[in-house]
C-alpha cells in the first residue's frame, strides 16, 4: 500500500491526523494516558473549563438512548487556573499534538478572562469557545443560540487572544446555524466547531420521573451524525473559515464523510465513552480506507462534496 498522508493544516497548526477527541469525552487527556499512546491523536479538546471550579450537576448525569446517550455533567471542572498551571502543562509533557482548551463562561467578561488566561499558557495550541453547553442554566448555550450574542462573545474573546486560533463551538439547538456561524466569522473567529449536543430527555417509566437528575441533558451518539453532517456542510459552504466537525462520529468512514462535507478536523465524542480506544482505532483504520477510496491525502478531500 502507498503511504497515506493523514495530516491536515488547521489555522497554521499541522495536525498529524484530523482525529480529535471532543471536549467532555476525554477528560484532560491524562486520564487515558495509560490506556494507549496519546500521540496517535491529531489533537485533544480538553474538558470544558470555567473561571471558578465547578462541581457540576447532581447524579444521575447519564442516560442511555437508542444509538446514543444523554449527559448532564454540568461543566464539572477544576477552574481555569488549574487548567493552565497543572492540566495543560502535564499533558504537554507526554503529548506532541494540538492541545485545545475548551472554554466556557457565564458572562462575556468571564469568557474573555478565561480565554486570555488560555492564550497566555504556552501549552495550549488552540482555544475552543463553548457557547453551546445545554447543561448549565445561566450562560452556556444561551450565548450560542442567537447571532448577536454569539458575535459579542467572539468579539470579546478575539480582543484578548493574541497568539492562538479561536474556534467557536456552536449548538445545534437553533433554527439557523449558518447565520450564527457567519456572525462568529464576522466577529473574528478563526474557525467553527460544530455540533455540541442536542437538548434531550428520557423518563423512567417505572419511577415516573426523568432519568437525568437535571431532567434534560445533551443527546449525542451515532443517531445525531446525519444532523451534524448537514450542519457541517451548510456552515463550511457558507463560511470562509475552517470547521471542526463533531457529532456521532464513530468510525473512519464517518471521518471521511465529515471531511468531504467540509470539516478540516473531526472530533469524536460519545463514542469514546462506549469505547475508550475509539480514536486510535479510527486513526489506524484510515489508511486502508483511504486506499480503498483512492485517496492519498486527507487534506485534498476537505469540502469536495
Amino acid at each position: 500500500m502507498v503511504t497515506k498522508d493523514l495530516s491536515v493544516s488547521l489555522c497554521g497548526l499541522q495536525l498529524a491526523n484530523p482525529v480529535v477527541p471532543a471536549s467532555g469525552t476525554f477528560g484532560f487527556g491524562l486520564e487515558l494516558a495509560d490506556s494507549f499512546d496519546l500521540n496517535l491523536l491529531g489533537g485533544i479538546s480538553l474538558k470544558g473549563t470555567t473561571r471558578e471550579a465547578r462541581f457540576g450537576n447532581p447524579t444521575p448525569r447519564i442516560a442511555e438512548c437508542t444509538a446514543g446517550m444523554i449527559n448532564s455533567v454540568g461543566l464539572q471542572n477544576p477552574g481555569i487556573e488549574v487548567l493552565v498551571t497543572e492540566k495543560a502543562p502535564a499533558l504537554r509533557k507526554i503529548y506532541r499534538g494540538a492541545i485545545i482548551a475548551n472554554i466556557s463562561g457565564f458572562s462575556v467578561e468571564e469568557y474573555a478572562y478565561n480565554c486570555g488566561r488560555a492564550d497566555a499558557c504556552p501549552d495550549i495550541d488552540l482555544i475552543e469557545v463553548n457557547v453551546s453547553c445545554p447543561n448549565v442554566h445561566a450562560g452556556g448555550m444561551a450565548f450560542g443560540t442567537d447571532p448577536a450574542s454569539a458575535a459579542s462573545v467572539t468579539k470579546a474573546v478575539r480582543e484578548v487572544v493574541r497568539h492562538k486560533p479561536v474556534f467557536i463551538k456552536l449548538s445545534p439547538n437553533v433554527t439557523d446555524i449558518v447565520s450564527i456561524a457567519k456572525a462568529c466569522e464576522d466577529a473574528g473567529a478563526d474557525g467553527i466547531t460544530l455540533i455540541n449536543t442536542l437538548l434531550g430527555m428520557r423518563i423512567d417509566i417505572k419511577k415516573r420521573k426523568p432519568v437525568i437528575a437535571n431532567k434534560m441533558g445533551g443527546f449525542s451518539g451515532p443517531a445525531v451524525f446525519p444532523l451534524a453532517l448537514r450542519m457541517v456542510y451548510q456552515v463550511a459552504h457558507a463560511c470562509g473559515i475552517p470547521v471542526m466537525g463533531c457529532g456521532g462520529v464513530r468510525r473512519a468512514e464517518d471521518v471521511i464523510e465529515m471531511m468531504m462535507a467540509g470539516a478540516t478536523a473531526v472530533q469524536v465524542g460519545a463514542e469514546n465513552l462506549r469505547n475508550p480506544m475509539a480514536c486510535p482505532e479510527i486513526v489506524a483504520a484510515l489508511p486502508a480506507l483511504m486506499d480503498s477510496l483512492g485517496i492519498n491525502s486527507l487534506q485534498e478531500i476537505i469540502g469536495t462534496v
Binding site: 477528560g27 457540576g56 469514546n272 475508550p276
Partner: protein
C-alpha cells in the same frame, strides 16, 4: 485498563432474577476485589458496569440482576458467546488495612464482590465473618460459596424466612462478631445504617449510573468529604468517612 474479548463459559440463574456469569479469555486476567468490568452488550449503546465476584487465572465470575433491557439480553446469552469487556476498572477494597479480623456486610447482590475480598483476606491470614441481607429467601446467593471458604455467614431477611428477621444491622447485633475493620457493599440506605451502627473503620462500595466507567467523562461524580470524586475511577470503594450520606 484493557479492552478484551471474553467468552461465556456459563450464564446460569442462581436466585430470583439473579445470574452467575463465568467468562474466560485468552491469557491471564488480574482483577482485585471491589474492582469492576464494563460489558458491551450487543444492541445497547453504553456498557454495563458489573463488579467482579471472583478472579480466575484466565477469567472472571460476575453476578448480575436482570433490572432492565440490557441485563435481560445478557441473561439470554448462551455459553460460547463473545463479550467485549473493559477491565480492570475502579480502585477496589484494601484488605491490607485489616489488622486481623474483617467483617463483610453485603446487601442483595452487594455480596458478590465480598466473595473475592474474603479470599484475599483469608490468603493474607485474616479472620473473616460475613453478614448478608436479602429481602426474601428466593434472592439468597453466595452463602454456600462463602461457607465453602470457611467463612461464618450470618443472614438477615426482611421477611424473616431465613436467619434474623430485619436488617443486616440486626444480624450483626445478634451475632456480635469480632472485627477491627468492616467492608460493605449494597443499597445506600443499608450502608448508611451500617456505618452509623459500627464504630470500627470501614470501606463502602458505591454505585452510580456511569458513562465511560474509566474516569474521563465525569458522569458519575459524587460529592465527598474531600471534594468531588468519580465513583468509577476514584472509587467505587471509599472510606466510610468520605461518604456524605
Amino acid at each position: 485498563m484493557q479492552k478484551r474479548i471474553f467468552h461465556i463459559e456459563s450464564n446460569d440463574a442462581v436466585a430470583r432474577d439473579t445470574f452467575r456469569l463465568v467468562l474466560r479469555t485468552d491469557g491471564p486476567v488480574a482483577v482485585c476485589s471491589g474492582q469492576f468490568v464494563d460489558i458491551d452488550i450487543p444492541g445497547y449503546y453504553l456498557r454495563r458496569p458489573i463488579s467482579v465476584s471472583d478472579s480466575l487465572p484466565d477469567g472472571v465470575v460476575l453476578y448480575y440482576k436482570v433490572v432492565g433491557e440490557g441485563t435481560r439480553v445478557l441473561s439470554a446469552m448462551a455459553p460460547g458467546a463473545a463479550l467485549e469487556l473493559l477491565l480492570p476498572l475502579g480502585n477496589g477494597f484494601d484488605p491490607e488495612k485489616c489488622a486481623a479480623e474483617a467483617l463483610l456486610i453485603g446487601g442483595g447482590l452487594g455480596a458478590a464482590p465480598l466473595y473475592l475480598l474474603a479470599k484475599e483476606l483469608l490468603a493474607a491470614g485474616k479472620k473473616v465473618t460475613a453478614v448478608l441481607g436479602f429481602n426474601k429467601a428466593d434472592e439468597i446467593c453466595l452463602i454456600d460459596e462463602l461457607k465453602a471458604l470457611g467463612v461464618p455467614v450470618h443472614i438477615a431477611t426482611m421477611d424473616g424466612s431465613v436467619g434474623t428477621k430485619g436488617f443486616v444491622t440486626d444480624a450483626i447485633a445478634a451475632a456480635k462478631p469480632a472485627f477491627d475493620r468492616f467492608y460493605t457493599c449494597g443499597p445506600l440506605p443499608m450502608m448508611k445504617a451500617v456505618c452509623a451502627a459500627l464504630s470500627a473503620p470501614g470501606e463502602v462500595s458505591l454505585e452510580e449510573r456511569m458513562g465511560c466507567g474509566a474516569g474521563f467523562c465525569y458522569g458519575c461524580t459524587v460529592q465527598t468529604a474531600s471534594g468531588p470524586r468519580r465513583v468509577c475511577a476514584d472509587g467505587p470503594v471509599f472510606d466510610k468517612e468520605e461518604v456524605l450520606w
